[in-house]
Amino acid sequence: MNKYFSSDKIKYVFYTVSHPVDGYYWIRHSDKGSVPLAIVLVILFSFSFSFNRLFSSFVVNEIDPRTVDSLIELGGVLLLFVLLCVSNWSVTCLMQGEGRLKDIAIAIGYSTVPFIVAMNLATIVSLYIADGEEAFYYLILVVGIAYGLIMMLLGIMQVHNYSLAKTLLTLILTLVAAFIIIFIGLLLVDLMNKIYSFFYSIYIELVFRV
């Protein structure tokens, strides 16, 4: 346990946020990151996302709090996280990417830190603003999200040792791969349903006849 959440590892998250290029380089090359920590950050991000939707002031927030379910959103975010990691890994391992699945997970997980900070900060700020001052709220959000996206990009670039152009290309391919995974997943679910209903109908038939 301590191996994954030691204070060195936690401090290294902040080092990565302030020095993304170096930080991700050493994550790849000397095991400075921690996957469990990345997963915890993703979970924190999901909760901050729900928190923002639930509690930001109604001056900026038009979402009915009754429609927000943080657990469902957690499931969605985790699923998206796994999907992104797997599809990126499946693309980059064919394109001379040096990163392991572990590194990709860390790169994406650590880059949610700006999202977490910005969303919580913006939520709190939203409680102290009036109509016409929404710019502050959106500024915080936009800066946070932009920084997080840049971090994600740099992270993927560093762990695979790619150029920027190649990173962007692989990112587009990652999206394609993600769609393929979703498609196959749905196909599989449908097939399973059919098989299940087939055996279920045999069972019903047996129950009625025997």
């Binding site: 109604f58 001056v59 038009e62 009915d64 102290y128 009036a130 109509d131 016409g132």
Partner: protein, 499 residues
Amino acid sequence: MGLSRKFKQMVLLFVAFINVLGPSSVALANQLPYDTYNYNFYEDIVYTPAAYVPSGSISGTQLIYEGESLGVLSNPQDICKTPSGNIVIADTGNHRIIILNKDMTKVIKVIKDFNNMNELDSFMSPYGVCVSKKNELYIADTFNNRIVVLDQDYNLVKIIKDPTSEILEDGYVFSPLKVSVDYADRIYCIAQNMFEGIMVFENTGDFIGFIGTIEVEISLWEKFWKRVATKEERSNQRLFIPTEFTGIDIDDDGFVYASNIDEGGEQAIRRLNPRGQDVIKKGENENLGGDLWSIGFSKYAGASQITDVVYRQKGMYSLLDRKRGRIFTYDHEGNLLYIFGGLGTQAGTFVTPVAIENIGDTIIVLDAYRAEILTFTETEYGSLINNAVALRYDGDETEAVELWRKVLTLDENNELAYVGIGKAYLSSGDYENAMDYLRKGMNSEFYSIAFRRYRNEVLKENMNFLLTGGVILVIAIVAGRRIYRKKKGLAKEEGLLNE
């Protein structure tokens, strides 16, 4: 003894329990043949108490005129009220105009014909009627292609027909459907197949022009398809013509309220100033089209089809929807106040509602298929809202607070009531309460005003502490840093020495 008392108590409790949970609420719902609801900030449906309840219906057969029954009305199309409160009905299918007294119990007059230059002239399917301030009766005599004006003794004043103008096509056939008159006896007329707007006539009967043309909006997508389509396909597509107006009413200041059928369900009512510009105010959700939720493919789905409008008082107006038989009432700020009414064959529901009119605290609706006038009287809930809105229209927000509080005891989801109370607190300077109520009413505009003032107040009160605290903090940080550096420097020196 003790046991029997206990038993009695139990029975009482049981009865009370049943009364609270069971039949009473169900019975109340059963009494009303329709749902009453409203939309909240999130545009969700919120069920409300009924603002108006059905109180009866008047059909032709129960009315007696000159010793004879009026008989069944045939496809009546319009009602209006005279300045003295009498009701005028256009009994279209029977080619006659019927005038009833205020309570709609007696027939004052049935007009089948009139004296036109010493000849007996009659109507041909009159679709619309209207009474001016001077008690003159304006009849849209549709199939005779004219508007007939009668004075209060039902003698002919003038006939308006064959409008001529450069802007009218040659061979244009004038078939007036609805007619309305303002304080200066200008005539506003909705005519069949006239898509350019409402036709306006001078009090002499000369055609002046159109007002309130509804502009057609063609989306980029539709433009794209137009371009792609061949000539043949194009000729088969529906034309992009503006919708016709359906109903018309004029308020005391001469502004024209005109309803139209909006397929998008966004704006089904226009308030036209004398220059013909739309000056209606829209509420928070920018919608004046009746129902907000109308998704689906059934016959019952789709945007509300507003067929008539009545201006009531103090800026309030009600729209009549023929799609789902609803009556929507808005205030002068465009807030939806309450919704009631429904389609059906039960008493108090409509089949084909065509016209709406307001008499005192009752709303009457003319149903063409049922050939009946249905009346609705306001409940306590409805009258509280009506009065509160009227007070607000006059600027007495503080007086309205009492009424809004009563509204809240009947319906604690009423956002307008919260906003009403919040605004009163705001103007009396109690910003904390104002913020609380305005937040409950989800009115971000006024909430922000209250919040800004509250924030300034708090800042003003605590400015001394804040500034002093800030200065102290800065000094402390600077001093602390110096001390820290000194110590560090010493340590470094020591470290160097050690090395």
